[in-house]
Amino acid sequence: MKTRDYVFFVILLALAAAFPFMGVPRYIIASTLLLFCYATVVSQWNLVFGIAGIFSLAQLAIFAFGAYSTALMGRYLDWSLWPTFPIAGAAGVIFSIFIGLACLRMRGIYVALLTLAISQTMFVLIQTDSDCSELNKAINPSTCVAFTGGPQGLGDFGTFGWREVLGGRNWMMGDYYSMLGLLIVALVFTAAMTQSRIGLAFKALRDNEELATSRGVSVFKYQLIVFAASAFLTAMAGAFYAAHFGSVGTNLVSFPLLLFLISMLVVGGIGRNWGPLLGAGLLMVADEFFKEFSDLRNIGLGLVVLLFMIFLPEGVAGAIESVCKRLQRLALVQHIERRLTAALRRDSAAPD
């Protein structure tokens, strides 16, 4: 991280904080807070995928796990949602550690397959959950709702509660700043993690696992650490998502959302500090256009990922970085040229 990055961060932060007061329509505020939510997930994914180099697709499952944890606690324990957030985060960590353990003996594409299978299993388990739950009968005997809500999804578990505090017109602001707060924590956390001793171990394992183990870095330990560390805020993002919408459904573990988040990671730049934020921003804007072609949306996203993989494998963040570097080099060359010509002129002008 350079000073430039910190300056950028502060400017963006100020912009994001002032954004709702710039007279933008309400649905844009709603989209932006969703962007913050996705950017949080992608920033944590970047830690696993980009920094530690583990090809895990489990992030979406952890996100949904957090969302469902909060929804279930809110509904069946009748709690306010705020205390459920850290619990959902912790539940996500435990869930993620199990996934990390399961993936320990696998590498590369096999990790992707297993973690994708876990997401799909979650999807199927919820989708096929259709038995009327006794817990729901206690709430309202006349309806039949499955424990997880099944394919209909689950609602009636509460929200952030900003409507009660800020009123019917401004509750969206409460949600907006809650989500922004989470994203800030996520960005600071990933940046700190990346710079730390633990982050160095992640990068060592990513770059060359055999050499890393020969230098005393334990695969077991750091793989579990990265799965645990990246899960807390991911699950929290899920919980915040649930609290914002007041409902959860299987779309949270569905393939289109997975593809959407992967696209953010790839377009932004895998392993880059600014990748998740850039990717989430660009994809959210692009998605506004894709929305018109509902069925073609996934094909469009797939195409975007493919094109980036081929032409810009380092993403937009990587491209910006290399352009900056090239400009710097150019400036340096020009500087040297000027100095040289000046010196030559002096020499030729000097009397002999």
Partner: protein, 268 residues
Amino acid sequence: MDSGEHVPLLACRNVFKYFGALAAVNDFELDVYAGDVVGIGGPNGAGKTTFLDVISGINPATSGEIELEGRDISKVRPDLICHRGMARTFQLNAGFDSLTIRENVLIGSAFGLGDHGIPAVTFSRAVHERVDRALELCRLADRAQTVARDVPVLERKLLMLASAVATDPKLLLIDEPVGGLNPHEVDDVMEIVLGLAAEGMTIILIEHVMRFLLQVSSRIVIMHHGEKIYEGDTQGLLSDRRVVEVYLGEGTADRLQHMLEERAAADG
């Protein structure tokens, strides 16, 4: 050497490594004492690198005993073997490509001596001091901020050596330190390796460049088909019939003999 008294730093007994039916390492025995520089030579496919893989835990032995300071390490994970004081380099110029040279060495220094308990976030001063020392010993101090991907082959080899040295090893295993280098660079590496030996590091090295092997090693081992066919000093090596037959050839043996005589004459 009064070997009867001391426990060897590394003791290998009846070590076998099979790949299917092929014994890549065949009933190998080797004792290495503190301060030794053991040079291992032999034709391609003799099992030299496999032997390093076996003792460093990368590719554990099929059977046999391997003891470091009297403790069995034959079934210990490579990261824990590193913590116990054995570090190695690789034949391919392995490095952490996206990191700077300093960060590469930092990994060895930060994790190589042990990594227990709650994972720390920052690096202690001792860790940074070891990095500085390793960079200096391997003459990389002025390249510290270069990204590993961008450095030429000599620096890559030195980088691997430096990250091993930063783990403060009792025993350093070096796999082909001068393969692919020009004669001038070979001399540079030779000075560096001799410098490490002078620091008190015990070294096992594999090398095809015999000039290097003979001048650096205090003891030479020649492997062939996974077996040890020679162990002893330089003089004995050049007059050993079997070694000359399977590995050196008459011409090379004569040339090396000549080189050693010249050097002896130069030394007075």
